[in-house]
């Protein structure tokens, strides 16, 4: 399996990360991609910028472990996982998850699994600045915990 995992503080050209996952491999029938984007609203407030902090060293291990777990559950031909850190603005891509497989069902399952696990297990933290100039750490969401827990049950 062809795997690439990156954490970068430069802009993420999410769409450009997809074709390399399947190019030149004629056994791949389905490619599922998830692009997570920064929204301009959170919890009812307009947000102007966000800073993404992480735990260097642990982040890379955590992402590799999530991809390994996906590869153990489904038959995958390629995975690419790229996550932004640093300063970002609304509409900027935050994360790209791209999974290629011979069959589409496995690619859909694995792609959603990876983003669900990343949301609860990879050490990234968002601090947002509202349009009024207030700075605050983003709260974790119960819906993300529930999404990750559902994969545990389906194991």
């Amino acid at each position: 399996m062809n795997v690439e995992i990156r954490v970068q503080d430069t802009p993420l050209d999410a769409v450009a990360e997809i074709a390399p996952v399947y190019a030149g491999q004629a056994s791949i029938g389905g490619v599922v991609s998830f692009i997570g984007l920064m929204r301009d609203m959170n919890q009812g407030d307009a947000v102007s910028t966000m800073k993404l902090e992480h735990y260097p060293g642990m982040t890379e291990k955590a992402l590799a472990a999530i991809v390994d777990e996906a590869a153990s559950r489904w038959d995958l031909a390629g995975v690419r996982l790229v996550h932004r850190v640093g300063e970002i603005r609304p509409q900027d891509p935050i994360v790209l998850v791209c999974v290629a497989s011979a069959h589409r069902g496995e690619a859909f399952r694995a792609c959603e699994f990876i983003i669900d696990y990343l949301k609860t297990r990879a050490p990234f933290w968002k601090r947002e600045q509202t349009a009024e100039g207030k700075t605050r750490w983003v709260d974790s969401r119960g819906s993300d915990e529930a999404a990750a827990a559902a994969w545990e049950d389906s194991k």
Binding site: G36, Y55, M58, A62, K119, T120, R121, F124, W125
Partner: protein, 82 residues
Amino acid sequence: MIRVLYFASLRERLSCSDETLEAVPATVTDLRAQLAGRGGIWHEVFADGQRVLAAVNQEMAGAGQALQDGDEVGFFPPVTGG
């Protein structure tokens, strides 16, 4: 000796990004208790530790995980990436 790192809102609340402790607590639970014992904001953060996650040597750790000399322990709030 262990290295202890604090991230995100924890780093800000504690005004501390990292420190080195000479004595090695037996477990993560013991380390939490020791940090809470400093009082003030440390007590507030670590006495009710359920929303403070821990990693040992950069892997998610259960509360009771044993510690050894040279370990790196990271404490942080629930993650919010993606």
